[in-house]
Amino acid sequence: MRAQFVLSEIGVGLRRNLTMTIAVIVSVALSLTLAGAGLLLRVQVNEMKDFWYDRVEVSIFLCGKSDHGPGCEGGEVSNEQREGFRQELSRMALVEKTYYETKQEAFQHFKDQNKESPLSGSVTADQLPESFRVKLKDPTKYQVVASAFAGRPGVQSVQDQRKILEPFFKLLNNAQWAAIGVMGFMLLVAILLIVNTARVSAFSRRRETGIMRLVGASNLYIQLPFIMESAIAGLLGGALASGLLSTGFFFGVKKGLGQQFNAFELIGWGPVLATLPLLVVFGVLMSAIASFFTLLKYLKV
């Protein structure tokens, strides 16, 4: 294999097809940027899930004096009932930790959380329910606890904090799918452009390839310049995507959201830097494979 010869053929091809090559580079770059953004969003969502699910609890609210409802017909929860729940919870394998919150503590939390609110003055400790705060080993098994306690005498309600977060994660999940969808279309455009460019390239050099076939050049020799051409365009597209993604991350997340947003941890440079090589490799492979299959049809022996 004569490297110099192949390289000079590639150079000629890229220059001859400059506008098409640029189109390929840009569309590969845009689709890969979206792909990268989608991947990073996924990492972010997973991290947030870990973070929040570690903190969420199942709350079992017990009946107070003034509570009505299916479990509270017997009035305020009795001491035996409370002790029974406590022991039952400690026997459940699913439960990691149980914490009992008295009315007084609930009142304190309420006051802390609503300092500014005029409501805080009118609420007394007696109006707030006492509760068991249960932390589960597997937060998704909420249903087991709920069915064990809900509706029993002395239990006013069972509440899963996870339920409150769910819509939020669903939104993020949908955003992720939307990114993947747009990426899919962009990728399709990119691949069609690659295919077309390879075709134009093969056509504009049909004289050369015809002679190559006649004098007995191997298929690899005939195809390699075209495939390398596409691969180089893919490489440049991947590199451009890496640049776009890094810039976007720096200005959008590091300088933008991260400055005002403290509710949870945003991903750092680690996952971003891990994504970039993937984009480049994918750009090269996608282009090379697409042009390989195009050329199979156009450079038959």
Binding site: R207, E208, I211, V215, G216, N219, Y221, I222, V301
Partner: protein
């Protein structure tokens, strides 16, 4: 060197076969004219030798290989044994004479040292010594065909196929090309030349194979062009 056993070729959507039951053998070192009117099957015959087409029926052997059993990836190796020259030269207009000939070796991966040695040799052989740096557009038709022959011959193939190599040339240049092909034939290379050029065939007195409507109608050693229009 080339053997056809009961070869027929029918193209799709064509009622009449392009070649019909053709059997013949060309020995090593022979010089053979392939004559016949347009559409007689000459081009199909040549394409079959190069395995650009497959026969519908029959077997073809070229340079000791059964083409029917030759897998696709071995076709390039076959074509390195068979040089090809066309009526329209098929030179690369943006490459010099030297580069055009060197191209044939570069694309089959020959080392640069070999190329630098054999390209000037073959250019001398075809009578183009000193014109290495000319572009094809600056050359006469006869000279361009010499470049094409140099390119076909530079890898020293066992067989040289020429498809109407003098079709675009005046009689004087044609004679020059025929002398060159004759010289190449004397080095032991088998030459198969399709032609319409009556004067040349009559003058050379080589073996003549005539095709008519896809059938082999004449195979004559030291023959003449034969049929009249």
């Amino acid at each position: 060197m080339i053997r056809f056993d009961n070869v027929s070729k029918t193209y799709p959507k064509q009622p009449r076969p392009a070649l019909h039951d053709v059997s013949l053998e060309v020995e090593k070192g022979e010089f053979v004219f392939l004559v016949g009117s347009s559409g007689s099957g000459k081009s199909t015959f040549l394409r079959l030798v190069l395995k650009e087409e497959r026969p519908s029926l029959g077997n073809i052997f070229v340079a000791g290989k059964d083409l029917g059993r030759l897998s696709n990836w071995k076709v390039p190796a076959l074509r390195r044994q068979v040089g090809t020259v066309f009526q329209d030269f098929r030179l690369l207009p943006n490459k010099t004479v030297y580069q055009n000939v060197a191209f044939a070796l570069e694309v089959i991966g020959k080392p640069r040292g070999t190329i630098r040695k054999v390209v000037p040799e073959v250019l001398d052989l075809v009578g183009l010594g000193g014109k290495e740096d000319r572009m094809p557009g600056e050359l006469s038709g006869g000279e361009q065909q010499r470049v094409a022959i140099a390119r076909a011959f530079v890898n020293r193939p066992m067989i040289l196929i020429a498809d109407e190599p003098t079709g675009n040339l005046d009689p004087q240049n044609s004679v020059g090309i025929m002398k060159l092909l004759d010289r190449i034939n004397r080095t032991g290379t088998t030459i198969l030349m399709a032609t319409h050029d009556q004067a040349i065939v009559d003058q050379m007195r080589k073996r003549v194979i005539e095709l008519e409507q896809g059938r082999l109608v004449r195979d004559q050693s030291r023959g003449v062009y034969g049929y009249q229009h």
